[in-house]
Symmetry: C2
Amino acid sequence: MTYCVAIKLNAGLVFLSDSRTNAGLDQISTFRKMIVYERPDDRFMVLLSAGNLSISQSVREILQVEQLKEHPDGEAITIWNAKSMFDAARVLGAAIRHVYERDAVALKQAGVDFNVSLIFGGQIKGEGMRLFQVYSAGNFIEATPETPYFQAGESKYGKPVLDRVITLNTPLDEAAKCALVSMDSTLKSNLSVGLPLDLVVYEANQFQTDKVVCIDENNPYFRMLRGSWGQKLREVFDSIEDPMWNGEQTDVPLMLQSGRNQALKKITTPQEKLI
Amino acid sequence: MTYCVAIKLNAGLVFLSDSRTNAGLDQISTFRKMIVYERPDDRFMVLLSAGNLSISQSVREILQVEQLKEHPDGEAITIWNAKSMFDAARVLGAAIRHVYERDAVALKQAGVDFNVSLIFGGQIKGEGMRLFQVYSAGNFIEATPETPYFQAGESKYGKPVLDRVITLNTPLDEAAKCALVSMDSTLKSNLSVGLPLDLVVYEANQFQTDKVVCIDENNPYFRMLRGSWGQKLREVFDSIEDPMWNGEQTDVPLMLQSGRNQALKKITTPQEKLI
């Protein structure tokens, strides 16, 4: 499987992906799932991919040459000349549909779903940053202020911390830290997600970035983060008082006799009815 | 959907379940998913259920009267006379198979999977506590020292904190707190899980418990837990330093030039090859 997350903030964009690919438990490999497209002072785009690797690799290959032609005599749109990220996302959708036309029938005959999930974001000069989640059918949705992040792959383990921390105003490096904590929780609970990680942080209106790093098990910051997070989480957990079963010893009793919801009736004999 | 978790410790057992049932997003109801069977000084058992509600309700109803007859002239085994939790789990498996025989064909014709997932644990006098996860086919697995907890339903959001905290030696009330934190993360990220919760804590070798509580949105302890956990998690998050992109200002740089894994090459022109 895979875990990818991308976050759009007022200050910029954060992209993070793992690199584990598996076809069954006995066929595990390392494949990078991020591509950075950058033409300084003009456009900066990042593509993250989850799903069937043969499909996502084909999409990435085709995306380099994919052209959308709207009018017979108009200029063909590519990701390199698109005037908006919306148009670039449409080119990506067209690339997916090309792979679908080529492979979907044969995949179906082999009992394999046409399954690919992409996150595509960045900035093209002339407009603000944009972030899209692109589906197998080539359709896509865009991140908004209410939902400033997208995940692909094994998304559930790492979702709670994103929900707790990320807002539009989160600073860039703090959001990168949050993405890494989200990844750490996923790594901890799911074998199909693995190191190394690729992390890119993009500052708004720069149309390029130097903040591109591959994080392996020796990375000093990630080692510190994993250790500290685990240890401090444990301290926080310990600092919250254990439940007290009645109200005499605590302000916050667990057992409350009032309230409309009653404790379960116990079943004590074979003859007893459940309801 | 549902979220249920059960934990087996040296000190006892903890069971927690939510109560939301949904058939699509526009049909949401409250159904309790826990049943406590208790005959003081003889046996204490708890059943948690996830999956298709019509199946799990039928299983619970049938379980009260289900009999396993091994030999023509032997005594039939029920959950009320079983001499071990293993035998009681077999009775539960037989109850599931009875419902399967009755309903599976008609469900399949309607395009509905025969989907039920149960957690069943407790203690019968004469042996130690035991905890089982029981599947749709009536087969089951048992918790061991290496894997002392089982989850059913929406299990991913709440798994990381269990993996970080729970060991065989965790005290009972601390494990209850951990189960509630696990539930809180799930509630926060998944609409299909909802209050009220049913919590039962069982102390080893007591064959009964008074620690049975229904937790709704007014429960003082759960309100405190949710607030404190969210706030302190945030404080821990803030206390970990943000990533520094080079080694001059920090002992734990994010960017590391050495190491065998290199940062991604950027794609800068349409002609460039990906590999």
